[in-house]
C-alpha cells in the first residue's frame, strides 16, 4: 500500500526553525568577517544553504528504505575513498582530509557521517530490537571503528569523534542491556584514560589544547589564548550583547576564526545572553521535533536514522558550545547550521532531508 506522498507531510515548523537559525548564522558571519580578509563569506554561506536546501528536497524524495538497501555499497565505496584520501589526498593544515573531484575539493569524512547513520540504522533494524549479544555489539564496533580509524589517521580527531554518538544512539535504542552498557562504559573510560596518559597517540597540538583547557591561564599567549579570548568574548557580551558588528573581541580580531568554529562566541558577544539562549532554544526545538518524528516513524529503521542524526547534532552542539564557554577543550568541531563551511552545511541538510523522508513516509504501513 503506497500512500501518495506530498510535501504537505513535510515538517514545515522544523524547516522554519532551521532557516531561522541559518539566517542568524548568515547575519553573524557577515558581522564577524566585516573587517577581515574573509569579507563576503556570508554570501557564500547563503549559496551553500541554498544548495543544501535543494539537496534536502532531493533526499526527501527517495524512499529511505531504498537508501538503506544501497547502504552497504555506499559504505564500501566510502571506505575505499577514505583509503584513497590517505594515499592520494590533498595535504593541508597538517592532514590529508580532502580529495580532488574535478575542480572541487571533497571531504569524504563528512559524508561518512551520513553513511554511518544509515549503516547503523540498517544494522540494528535488521537485528529487530531483540536484546543484543556481545557478538552483535562487536560487529557494530567494527563497522564504525574501521572508518573512524581511517579518519583518525588523516589526522582529524574532531570528525572521527562525531562518529561515536551515532554508535551510542544505535546501541542504546537497538537494545543493549544495563550490564553490557556498564561494562562498555568502564572499558571506554579506561581506554580514553590510557590514551591521554600514554601521550603517544595524541598529536602535540592536541595535547596542548587539552592542557590549556584544564588551565586556560597557564599560557595566555599560546594554546590557552583561544579559550581565553572566547570566554572574554562571551562574558563581555552581558545580557543584551554589544550589538551587531560592535563586539570588540570579534571585530578587534582577538577571537580566533569568529565565523567558523568560534561563531557562537561572536554571536554571544554581540547578542548577549538573550541571543545565545534564543539560539539554544532553537536547537532544543529542532532536536525535540526530530525526536517526535522518530517516534512517529513507520518502523524501527526510520526512527534509528533520525535518532542517529539527533545524536550527531546533540554531540556537535554540546561540544562546540561547550568549547566556547570553557566546558570542553578545543576540538575543531563546527557548530551545525551556524558555522561557516560548505561541507558542514551540506551534511546537515542532507541528513535533514533523510529525516524529512522518514517523516513523510510515516503512514506508509
Amino acid at each position: 500500500m503506497r500512500r501518495f506522498l506530498s510535501f504537505r507531510d513535510f515538517d514545515w515548523p522544523l524547516l522554519a526553525a532551521i532557516l531561522l537559525l541559518c539566517s542568524l548564522s548568515v547575519l553573524e558571519i557577515y558581522s564577524a568577517t566585516l573587517h577581515t580578509k574573509y569579507v563576503g563569506f556570508h554570501t557564500k554561506q547563503m549559496l551553500y544553504i541554498a544548495g543544501g536546501l535543494l539537496a534536502m528536497f532531493i533526499f526527501a524524495k527517495v524512499d529511505y528504505h531504498r537508501m538503506l538497501d544501497w547502504t552497504p555499497w555506499f559504505y564500501g565505496f566510502f571506505m575505499l575513498l577514505l583509503v584513497a584520501t590517505k594515499l592520494f589526498g590533498h595535504k593541508a593544515l597538517g592532514g590529508k582530509r580532502w580529495i580532488k573531484f574535478g575542480p572541487m575539493l571533497f571531504q569524504p569524512s563528512e559524508w561518512v557521517k551520513l553513511i554511518l547513520i544509515l549503516a547503523v540504522a540498517r544494522y540494528f533494524a535488521n537485528l529487530g530490537g531483540r536484546s543484543l549479544t556481545w557478538r552483535d555489539i562487536f560487529k557494530a564496533f567494527a563497522m564504525l571503528g574501521a572508518p573512524m580509524v581511517l579518519v583518525l589517521i588523516q589526522p582529524d580527531l574532531g570528525t572521527s569523534l562525531t562518529y561515536i554518538p551515532i554508535l551510542i544512539a544505535g546501541l542504546f535504542l537497538g537494545g543493549i542491556n544495563v550490564r553490557q552498557a556498564l561494562i562498555l562504559s568502564v572499558c571506554s573510560i579506561a581506554l580514553v584514560g590510557g590514551v591521554l596518559g600514554s601521550g603517544k597517540i595524541l598529536k602535540p597540538f592536541q595535547r596542548a589544547r587539552l592542557t590549556s583547557f584544564i588551565d586556560p591561564n597557564s599560557d595566555p599567549k599560546g594554546a590557552g589564548y583561544q579559550i581565553r579570548q572566547s570566554l572574554i568574548a562571551v562574558g563581555s557580551g552581558g545580557i543584551w550583547g554589544k550589538g551587531e558588528a560592535k563586539g570588540s573581541q570579534t571585530q578587534g580580531d582577538f577571537l580566533p576564526i569568529p565565523h567558523a568554529d568560534f561563531i557562537f562566541a561572536a554571536f554571544g558577544e554581540e547578542h548577549g545572553f538573550v541571543g545565545a539562549v534564543i539560539v539554544l532554544l532553537l536547537y532544543f526545538f529542532i532536536l525535540m521535533r526530530l525526536i517526535q518524528n522518530a517516534q512517529t516513524a513507520a518502523d524501527l529503521s526510520g526512527s534509528l536514522i533520525i535518532m542517529g542524526f539527533v545524536a550527531v547534532l546533540t554531540f556537535q552542539i554540546s561540544v562546540n558550545v561547550g568549547m566556547v564557554i570553557g566546558f570542553m577543550p578545543v576540538t575543531g568541531i563546527p557548530l551545525p547550521l551556524m558555522s561557516y563551511g560548505g561541507s558542514s552545511v551540506l551534511f546537515t541538510f542532507l541528513a535533514l532531508g533523510v529525516a524529512m523522508n522518514v517523516r513523510m513516509r510515516r503512514f506508509v504501513n
Binding site: 573587517h35 580578509k37 569579507v39 528504505h65 531504498r66 593541508a92 593544515l93 580532488k100 575542480p103 575539493l105 540498517r122 533494524a125 535488521n126 530490537g129 544512539a169 542504546f172 535504542l173 599567549k221 589564548y225 570566554l231 572574554i232 562571551v234 562574558g235 563581555s236 557580551g237 552581558g238 545580557i239 570588540s248 573581541q249 578587534g252 580580531d253 582577538f254 554571544g268 545572553f273 545565545a276 539562549v277 539554544l280 536547537y283 532544543f284 532536536l287 525535540m288 525526536i291 522518530a294 517516534q295 516513524a297 513507520a298 518502523d299 524501527l300 529503521s301 526512527s303 535518532m307 539527533v310 546533540t314 552542539i317 554540546s318 558550545v321 564557554i325 570553557g326 566546558f327 504501513n365
Partner: protein, 717 residues
C-alpha cells in the same frame, strides 16, 4: 524486496526516546547555565578584561625564497618596500588635504582624486593604496605630518625584485595576490585571501617551498585597536632559496641571440635534462606584477597578438617542419627501410594524384645526404613506405604529442596524428596522401620547442631521453619531489636504444647540416673548430590560398626552427630555436650557433682556467641587466633614486647614488664581452630595433627581421 527485512512496526520503546529527550534537556540547561555564569554573573569582570585586552596575534609575513642560477648567482631577490594607504574611516574630510598629500608624495593631484573616485563605492574600512615603494623623503613627510594627516598609513612589506627587461621572465614567472577565482580552485584551497602567491613559472611550481611559513607577533594595542608595541614574536620561517639549473651567462647569450624576434630558445643538457637557458619572446616585466599590475598594462599584455605571457618554449604548439625528419630517419633506419632507399629528387613527389613539392631538385638522394639536404622527396617516399602507424609509433615513443614533464606550469602536449587519432577526431579514415605531409613535419603534427630539444637531444645521445627541469631535484624535500612528478606528468626519462650504426648515420647527417656543401640547409652556420650539428625546419603557417584570403596582402613568413647539438655525438648541449614567421631556416640556425658558441667559449675558459671575460665595475645583482651608476656624490637624495621606470638599480652594498632625473634612460647593457652591439640592442628595450646578429653576417638578417615582423596578427599560433 530487500527492505522487507527491516522490521516494520517494531519501534524503539518511547521510554528510551523520553530518556534521550531528558538528556538533551539536561545538556541544554547545562549550557544555558554556563552562559548565565559568564554573561550574567561575571559579565562585569569579562567586560573589564575585554577593555584591557591588549594582546592580539598578528601575522609576520615570511620572506619568499630567493632564486639563484646554477653557479649561485642571484636572479630573484627581495627588497623591503613601504606602501602608503589612505584610510577613510576618520570622520575628517580628506578632500581638503589632497593637494598637500600629492605634493608630499610626489603625486599628481588629479590622478589622486581619480584614484579616490575609483574606490568611492568600496567599503569605508578598506584602505586605498595611493603609493607603492615610498621613498625615504616621502616616508619622512608622512611621519612628520602624522597629526595633520592622520589618514595616511604606511605598511612595510617585502617585495620581489626581478631582473630587468624580462630577463628569464618565463622561467621565473611572477607573483601576485591570490584571486577570488583561484581561491575556489582546489590547488589554492589552503591560501587565504590577500596572500601573495606565485602565478607562473618557478614562482608557481615551487610556491610551497618559496613561500615559507608565516610567523606571528603578539601585538599590544590600545582600546581602539591601534598598535602600541609588541610582546613576543614567533618568527616566520623564510621560504627556501632555490638554485635553478639556468646558467646566467648562457641565458644572457640566448636572450641576446633571440633579440626581439617572436619565438623561443631552449638550451638543455641532454645528459640530465637540466635547462641551461630558456627564452620566450616577447617577454614581460615581472616587476609590474609584484603587487598589483595596473589595468592598462595588463590589457596590453593580454591583447598583444604575440602573447608575451605565453611561454613559447613550452606552450607554443607548432608544426615542427623538417626537424621532424630526424625522427623519420630514426624510424626508417630502425625499421631497415632507409638504408636501402635511394631516391631521385626531381622537385617533389605525388603518387596519390596530388603533387607534393620539394624545395630543390636534389637529384640522387640517400639517407646520408637526405638530412643535410632536408630533401622532402626522400622523406615523402620514406614516410609512404613506413606508413602512418609506424611513424606514429616511433614519434609517440620518443615523446611527440606528450608533455615532457618539465617543472613549469602550463606545458602543452603538442600533437602526433595517427590513423586512430583521425578516426576519433574526424570520424574519417586516414589517407596515405596525408602521411606525406606528416613525414616532413607538417599536416597535423605539432610540437613545442622543449619537446624538440628533448627528442633530438635524446636521439643524438643514442636514445637516452631525459625529463627537462629548471630546478635541480636534489635540493627538494623528498615528498615535494614526489608530488612534483605527480603534478607534472610527462614522457619523462626513457631509454630507447638506437642501433649504433643508425645512430652514427643520423648524427653524421646532423653534423653535415652546418657544414659547407651544396644544398646543405645551414651550410654557412657551422662553427669552426667546434663539433656542432643540428637540423633546420621550416613550417608553412597556412596554405597559400588561405594566406591570400586572410593576410590581406601582408607577408606571412613561415615559422622556422633549428635544433642544434654539440658535440654531435652524445651532446652535452642541445639548443632548440623557434622563430615565428622568421622566413628562412638558416636564421634560427645562426641564432642557435650563437648560443652554442657562447656555451663552448665558457667551457673552454673553464677548462683552461681562464678568468671570465673582464667585467666592468660592480654588477649583476638581482637586476641582471643593471649596471650601477658611477658615484656622483649626491648622497642626500640617494634613496629617492632607487626607482627608475619600474626598475631597480642595486649594487654590492654601496649606497645608491645619482639622481633619478639624471639617470640615462637606457644605461643598462651588459658590458663585458666584446660584442658591443648586443647591449645596444637590449637598450632598445625589445623595441623596434633588431639585434645585430653577426657582424660578418652573409645574409641581411635585419632586413628579414623587419619584413618578418610585419605585424602579423596570427603571430601566436
Amino acid at each position: 524486496m530487500d527492505s522487507i527485512k527491516f522490521s516494520r512496526g517494531e519501534k524503539p520503546p518511547s521510554v528510551k526516546l523520553a530518556v534521550v529527550q531528558y538528556c538533551i534537556l539536561a545538556l541544554m540547561l547545562a549550557l544555558a547555565a554556563g552562559l548565565w555564569r559568564l554573561q550574567v554573573l561575571h559579565a562585569e569582570d569579562y567586560r573589564l578584561q575585554a577593555e584591557q585586552n591588549r594582546i592580539r596575534k598578528e601575522p609576520v609575513l615570511a620572506p619568499r625564497g630567493k632564486l639563484f642560477d646554477r653557479e649561485g648567482r642571484i636572479i630573484v631577490d627581495n627588497y623591503p618596500s613601504i606602501s602608503c594607504f589612505l584610510v577613510r574611516e576618520q570622520s575628517k574630510n580628506v578632500d581638503a588635504d589632497l593637494p598637500m598629500i600629492a605634493s608630499g608624495l610626489h603625486l599628481d593631484v588629479d590622478q589622486l582624486r581619480a584614484t579616490l573616485r575609483h574606490y568611492r563605492a568600496s567599503p569605508a574600512y578598506q584602505p586605498i593604496p595611493i603609493k607603492q615603494d615610498v621613498t625615504a623623503d616621502e616616508d619622512a613627510f608622512i611621519e612628520a605630518h602624522r597629526n595633520e594627516l592622520p589618514e595616511l598609513e604606511t605598511i612595510d612589506e617585502e617585495r620581489r625584485l626581478y631582473p630587468r627587461d624580462g630577463f628569464a621572465s618565463h622561467i621565473i614567472g611572477y607573483v601576485g595576490e591570490v584571486s577570488e577565482e583561484d581561491l575556489n580552485q582546489s590547488r589554492y584551497a589552503w591560501y587565504n585571501p590577500g596572500d601573495v602567491v606565485g602565478k607562473a613559472g618557478v614562482e608557481e611550481t615551487y610556491d610551497k617551498l618559496l613561500r615559507g611559513q608565516d610567523g606571528s607577533r603578539d601585538v599590544i594595542v590600545d582600546s581602539h585597536g591601534r598598535e602600541v608595541g609588541y610582546l613576543g614574536v614567533q618568527h616566520a620561517t623564510p621560504g627556501t632559496d632555490l638554485k635553478l639549473t639556468i646558467d646566467n651567462d648562457l641565458q644572457k647569450a640566448a636572450e641576446l641571440a633571440l633579440g626581439d624576434r617572436n619565438g623561443a630558445i631552449v638550451a638543455m643538457d641532454p645528459r640530465n635534462g637540466e635547462i641551461l637557458a630558456l627564452v620566450s619572446r616577447p617577454s614581460f616585466d615581472p616587476n609590474a606584477f609584484s603587487i598589483r599590475i595596473n589595468r592598462t598594462d595588463w590589457n596590453k599584455l593580454i591583447t598583444d597578438p604575440d602573447h608575451p605571457l605565453l611561454n613559447k618554449a613550452i606552450q607554443a604548439q607548432l608544426a615542427p617542419g623538417s626537424t621532424f625528419k630526424i625522427l623519420m630517419s630514426v624510424a626508417g633506419l630502425q625499421e631497415g627501410i632507409a638504408q636501402t632507399l635511394k631516391v631521385n629528387c626531381t622537385g617533389g613527389w605525388g603518387p596519390y594524384g596530388f603533387f607534393h613539392h620539394c624545395d630543390e631538385h636534389h637529384g640522387a638522394v640517400d639517407i646520408h645526404n637526405a638530412i643535410p639536404f632536408s630533401c622532402d622527396t626522400y622523406y615523402y617516399q620514406l614516410g609512404d613506405r613506413l606508413g602512418i602507424d609506424r611513424i606514429a609509433k616511433y614519434a609517440t615513443a620518443f615523446g611527440y604529442g606528450q608533455k615532457t614533464g618539465i617543472d613549469l606550469p602550463g606545458e602543452q602536449a603538442g600533437l602526433m596524428p595517427s590513423a586512430q587519432w583521425k578516426m576519433k577526431t574526424y570520424h574519417n579514415r586516414w589517407y596515405p596522401d596525408e602521411t606525406l605531409d606528416v613525414a616532413i613535419g607538417q599536416g597535423a603534427v605539432e610540437a613545442t620547442p622543449i619537446q624538440l630539444a628533448r627528442i633530438i637531444g635524446g636521439i643524438a645521445s643514442g636514445g637516452h631521453l631525459v625529463r627537462p627541469h629548471v630546478v635541480s631535484p636534489d635540493q627538494l624535500p623528498a615528498d615535494f619531489r614526489k608530488s612534483l612528478q605527480e603534478d607534472f606528468p610527462g614522457s619523462g626519462e626513457a631509454n630507447l636504444p638506437i642501433d649504433p650504426e643508425n645512430w652514427q648515420t643520423i648524427t653524421a647527417g646532423m653534423y653535415q647540416v652546418t657544414q659547407p656543401g651544396l644544398y646543405h640547409t645551414a651550410g654557412a652556420d657551422g662553427l669552426p673548430g667546434i663539433d656542432f650539428g643540428g637540423k633546420t625546419g621550416t613550417a608553412q603557417v597556412m596554405s597559400h590560398e588561405a594566406l591570400d584570403k586572410t593576410s590581406k596582402g601582408r607577408v606571412t613568413n613561415p615559422n622556422v626552427w633549428f635544433v642544434g647539438v654539440t658535440p654531435t655525438h652524445n651532446p652535452e648541449l642541445v639548443v632548440a630555436v623557434l622563430w615565428q614567421n622568421g622566413g628562412f631556416s638558416y636564421y634560427p640556425a645562426r641564432i642557435g650557433a650563437r648560443v652554442v658558441a657562447a656555451y663552448i667559449e665558457k667551457q673552454r675558459r673553464i677548462a683552461n682556467n681562464l678568468a671570465p671575460s673582464k667585467q666592468s665595475a660592480p654588477t649583476e645583482v638581482g637586476a641582471v641587466w643593471t649596471q650601477p651608476l658611477p658615484p656622483s656624490g649626491k648622497g642626500a637624495n640617494a634613496d629617492a633614486t632607487r626607482l627608475n621606470a619600474g626598475h631597480f638599480y642595486i649594487d654590492h652594498g654601496d649606497i645608491l647614488t645619482a639622481k633619478a632625473a639624471n639617470l640615462p634612460v637606457s644605461r643598462p647593457g651588459v658590458s663585458g664581452n666584446s660584442t658591443k652591439p648586443l647591449s645596444k640592442g637590449l637598450n632598445a628595450k625589445m623595441g623596434a630595433r633588431a639585434v645585430k646578429l653577426d657582424e660578418q653576417a652573409r645574409k641581411p638578417v635585419e632586413q628579414a627581421v623587419s619584413s618578418g615582423k610585419a605585424n602579423d596578427p596570427r603571430g601566436g599560433q
